[in-house]
Point group: C2
Chain length 379, copies 2
């Protein structure tokens, strides 16, 4: 018998009841029924992003909203600061480059969190920086960056925004947008939102809206100003991915029923159990100091072929875990636990890891990882 | 009992078996199984677009691919020619404007097809025009533009491309890309492809690829060059709308089983029947000279409130027909018949139209529209 399990940091496993809801006959996006769904979604997203402001929705992958956060906030000649501690930090730099925006990178060793002091130093000596681009959770390394601390620094610079790619942060750990004074927060549907890929989100502060007003970079499909106006009429500017909207209403309701605190606590528990299990097996975390609760990046021990381990996960157990990307390729595996995951899901993946490592000749006591996980999952 | 029917030109009705296929547990887009699907889709799209070249796929609405066809083909200082005979023609102009591209509009009365001679004149006197942007089927008016004739003209200009928004043309009537020498052909998932909205397509000729190489306009998410490379590895550059890809394989297979000729013949028959019915009721077509087989735009007769008629369709019969857009608002209704539509679907919508018009006091003989349709549907 074949069963399949996703433990990749996007797409993630999806609730079957939501999949079936999305399989209902499609409705038209200019019907009152859709506008009602849109209105509910707007409220649900505000709750999820912890903001009173509008959360824009685009039919695209998360990268589309990242691009929009550059083309809609900056103007010709503006400078940016980019935190680069992984593949997605690098993406901020690539988008800046595509738009001719000069940026100062803060390069961070993969697996480490950025030091907010460095950001402060650069902002002080470069008053022309108009925005700081960072990740909340760097999906390629499993690191959580200190967003609250960065926001406190950026707040001191009146003409500078803080833009947070929280694609694997929102709905995983606490990122209270308004309370922390974040200007733009981005997410995507295929992560903690428990949906297929295809929707991207961008929440904007009042300060960010002012930058949108003056921005002169070219944009059309990812036009924040136009989308703000459309959203206020419970509409998208262009034909939206209707079925994903229908699913989104469902998953936002699931999140609301569990409550944000419950959602964060669950992710904290699953992540802590996974980390404890990994350590109990004698393995090392790739991001030991500031791990994200979205996923656990595990260093491949000496003598074990990382790509083979990843392949065996799928072959023997139908489990998709993520390999390392770019410079981390073959050096880590990434086990995700964001979205539709509960305690016993983690037991499964840890157990599979144990059986595979044993088979591959790695020395440890079978069952020790699961035991360490259980001790936390029981609390 | 409530039943609902979509007769709008996107989204269109969807095959339930495809909806259920998309409701299966989601797979990861870097798995061999997904790459296999991607490879099949590439072949299916080449068949559908009648091209040997690559058809790029973007997770976005069709507008995203339209934007890409400007930002990836043109360079700073290039000029464009834009056929504007409806809302979507106007969109070409808006995108040009967003990118600082000067364009010469060929304004066409709504409901009429463009005269290719005008395009030839403008191209002759403006050698700096690098691309002609047009629709194959202008969804806002129900007009079919003479693409073959336009292509023959553009072909004479070595440094000029013909770019066709065939969002409601592909899979409806014959647009043989390679045979006619079209450089870029665009479509979207929620039209004849019988899927929810969320995917956009752009097929590129070799000549178009050369323009892509030299283009210097900013772009990131809609990057044709990058997407071409990814497609050749059966991958998307960014996380794709996986469930729509899964559905796309199914609907492309449906199209292949029916055969393009069968698909075109079916649309021709449904469209001819609808037009005959409308005329038999004494109504006028909005695009009498060059109607598109994707949809039939019908003029609202004097004394009838067009917006009320559209509202009653939904209220009394659960049918969504499209109203007129912008300057055609209240003046027409648009009845779509592209995608998952068969003969009796048209009987339903024509019958509903008869009953509603009768109720609203329009004078005609009940049943005459259905009779005229049947005479064609029987052939």
């Amino acid at each position: 018998m074949e069963k399949k399990y996703l433990f990749s940091p996007g797409p993630t496993m999806l609730p079957p009841e939501v999949l079936l809801k999305m399989a209902e006959p499609i409705m038209h996006h200019r019907e009152p029924e859709f506008e009602k769904i849109f209105a509910e979604i707007r409220e649900g997203l505000k709750y999820l992003f912890q903001t009173k402001n509008e959360v824009l929705i685009f039919t695209s992958s998360g990268t589309g909203a990242m691009e929009g956060a550059i083309s809609n906030l900056l103007s010709k000649g503006d400078k940016a600061l980019v935190v680069r501690g992984g593949k997605f930090g690098e993406r901020w730099g690539e988008i800046c480059k595509a738009y001719g925006i000069e940026f100062i990178p803060v390069d961070v060793e993969w697996g480490r969190a950025v030091d907010p002091e460095k950001i402060q130093e650069i902002l002080k000596s470069n008053p022309s920086i108009r925005a700081v681009y960072t990740q909340a959770s760097e999906t390629s390394t499993g690191v959580k960056h200190p967003i609250k601390e960065i926001a406190e620094i950026v707040k001191k610079f009146e003409n500078t925004l803080i833009v947070v790619d929280a694609i694997t942060g929102i709905g995983v750990f606490n990122i209270p947008m308004d309370e922390w004074g974040l200007d733009v927060v981005i997410s995507g549907s295929q992560k903690a939102l428990m949906l297929p890929p295809g929707l991207a989100f961008a929440a904007l502060s009042d300060k960010a809206c002012k930058f949108v007003e003056r921005s002169d970079l070219p944009k059309y499909y990812f036009n924040f100003k136009k989308e703000l106006k459309s959203a206020q009429k419970n509409q998208s500017s262009y034909t939206p991915a209707i079925s994903l909207f229908v699913g989104l209403r469902e998953t936002l309701n699931m999140i609301r029923r569990e409550g944000l605190e419950g959602v964060f606590r669950r992710h904290e528990k699953l992540a802590a159990a996974t980390r404890a299990a990994v350590k109990a097996l004698g393995l090392e975390l790739y991001a030991p100091e500031s791990p994200s609760n979205a996923l656990t990046a595990v260093k491949i021990p000496a003598g074990i072929d990382g790509l083979k381990l990843q392949a065996l996960f799928f072959e023997k157990f139908g489990i998709t875990v993520a390999e390392g990307q770019d410079r981390a390729k073959g050096k880590i595996i990434r086990i995700a636990h964001l979205g539709y995951y509960e305690r016993l899901d983690m037991v499964m993946v840890i157990s599979a890891l144990e059986m595979l490592l044993k088979e591959m000749g790695y020395k440890f006591e079978l069952g020790k990882g699961v035991k360490a996980a259980e001790e936390i999952l029981m609390t």
